[in-house]
Amino acid sequence: MQRYLSFACALVLACATFLAPGADAKETVKIVFIGPLTGGNAALGLGGRNSADLAVQLHNADAKAKYTFDLVKLDDQCKPDIGVQVATKAGADSSIIAGVTHYCSAVAIATVDTYHKFGLPVIVWGAVLPAITYGNDYPEIHRVNGTMINQNDVNAKLVTGLGYKTWVIIHDTTDYGKGHDEYFTKYLTQDGGKVLADFGVGADQQDFTAILTKVKELNPDVVYFGGLTPIGVRVRSQMDKLGIKSQFEGTSGIVSDSYIQALGPLAEGTIAFIDGAPIEKLPGGKFFLEQYAAHKYAEPPEAYGAYAFVAANLIMDTIEKVGPNRKAVIAELAKTKDYPSIVGPVTFDAHGQNIVPIVTAYVVQDGKWVVWHDSDYAKGKRKLAGGK
């Protein structure tokens, strides 16, 4: 009996530790952030969450603002069914006016119907699958980041322009990796590059030596990797282990500080692309990075933090303009044109997709992601693999 009692007490104590705080003064409006906060994709999810949180904190610190915002943060675990559950939770809660939602494409595509059903306006901050915006006519769905189409178009043009001829593609078998594989192959073939082989790998695979031994035998000019940082790190590091000298390039999924941190000098010369303007070059971008550092978040913003920041700001500015009303917010968001942001001006097309005019190429130089055109590599001071 005593054991049970002590168990019950422990439970109460454990839960009581997390008791919610009290009330506010200004009218409070709730908005929601949804992303993967636990599991394998948590790094990017936490970066997005911190960035959205930063946007809300900065907004709330502004004395001129009409509303105080309260950011509800939900974890979708990068699983479609959990995504639908939390989307229902947010959509059915009428006190939540809008959402900054989803990093994982599979979750984002699974939840569009739910948001439409409940009429909750959302801005996708990380998922890159084209069909999320283009696969439906729902006015609720918007996206600030670009799709994987633009990214691979620019990618193929740039690398073929450097004089590389042959490629091996390694991609993870999630929709992210497969999508990149599809579009990159398409544009590369158009631009005259040749794909020698195409390998799909599991998203939790650890050993790539067998595949890479085959790659070594094929000896391509470039190894293209479609996937996220953890596997990108493994592939790059095992390439070195096997003595493969090919140029390594990746997608937006590896543009993260942890990629460089985990690889050290091996990261040097890796090329990758993101959809959007280089944040550190835009006026607001520097401010974002400084503020992010000043708020001492435990995790870095990662590649898509800036988009979560922009999405949260866009939502809050819209609510400031038209008031906390879902229908009004949807109507107003549709009119978004040249909204100034740290990832460049945001303009939504008829599908709610930000027409991203810019794709930025990056290369790792001296332990930093440097915009390609500013790098020593582009200027010819340093050479990529194969002397290009």
Binding site: R234, L242, A262, A298
Partner: protein, 306 residues
């Protein structure tokens, strides 16, 4: 196929097999003494790698840089740390559930695995992201055609095999090993013989987990990268290797480990379909093997315990 390339596949496959075998031996030892599956074993490997990494960083901060010393201290710290963790798991999670159905142990260790994973992710600095594992071994290599023979990998293979052999000798040749085998065969009789059952269980878990800790360090030194979520798949593969080989048999575990590495290598490069099917292939072969040899390749000697 070029002989050099073939040699490269075999060489890498052997390295992978050594890591799998080290994990599988733990599963088989635990099953031997208690008939339970410790499903968090893969995460113990991960924890071992992180303890090793933290030790390295501490040594680095203290200014100790001699590679031989560092490797030794890192490996010992991971081994001892995991031995302690293994004993703790046995004492407070596994023995208390002895009266319950064996599958409840499975659930409890499954949850323990996710706790270990989340602990590392949340509390190791920047733990959500992959961590660089230092290159501490001499990286000399010789090129023979398409085959690159690396000194560090060779050292790791040898060390891994030697560790497994030592564990096997402990189990086969020492008085402690005799006690372990006695408990494995019949714990009641062993108790009557004056063997301290609980202690033998704790020691067995300590040995198996220390081996997992070593495996973690080997993993880190080989791949030069560790991540909080490597444990789940390693655990599943280690378990599969132990079962395919035949639970309770150390040789079976080693055989299973190498078999699994071979299947994955073949699945990645030698199949007519996309390499993405390599896991489909490996696990399909496992199902066929189990149908052919229902109690593993090296079956338990006793037919049935009633």
């Amino acid at each position: 196929m070029d002989a050099g390339v073939l040699a490269q596949y075999v060489f890498n496959g052997v390295m992978l097999g050594v890591i799998y075998a080290m994990v599988a031996v733990g599963f088989t030892l635990f099953f031997g003494v208690l008939d339970v599956i410790q499903f968090a074993h893969g995460d113990v490997v991960m924890a071992g790698a992180f303890v090793g990494l933290a030790t390295y960083l501490a040594l680095h901060a203290l200014g100790i840089a001699a590679p031989a010393v560092v490797v030794l201290v890192v490996a010992c710290a991971a081994g001892l740390g995991m031995a302690l963790l293994g004993a703790i798991i046995a004492r407070w999670l596994i023995l208390p559930l002895r009266a319950a159905p064996a599958f409840n142990t499975l659930l409890v260790t499954l949850m323990l695995g996710s706790i270990l994973r989340e602990l590392v992710r949340l509390f190791y600095p920047n733990g959500s992201n992959p961590q660089p594992f230092p290159r501490l071994l001499p990286s000399a290599s010789a090129n023979l055609g398409h085959f690159t023979l690396r000194l560090d990998t060779t050292l790791l293979i040898v060390t891994g095999l030697v560790t497994i052999v030592i564990v096997n000798l402990v189990v086969r040749r020492t008085r402690l090993g005799l006690a372990i085998r006695a408990v494995a065969q019949d714990s009641e009789t062993a108790r009557v013989m004056g063997i301290d059952f609980e202690r033998v269980v704790l020691v067995t878990f300590a040995i198996g987990s220390a081996l997992a800790g070593f495996a973690g360090v080997v993993y880190g030194l080989y791949y030069n990268e560790v991540n909080f979520d490597i444990g789940l798949l390693l655990g599943v593969i280690g378990f599969s290797a132990a079962v395919v080989g035949g639970l309770g048999s150390i040789y079976g575990a080693i055989l299973g480990g190498f078999l699994f590495a071979a299947l994955q290598t073949i699945g990645s490069v030698a199949l007519p379909v996309s390499s993405a099917y390599s896991n489909v292939f490996a696990f399909a072969v496992v199902i066929v093997l189990m149908t052919w040899k229902p109690t593993g390749l090296i079956a338990e000697p006793a037919s049935e315990r009633v």
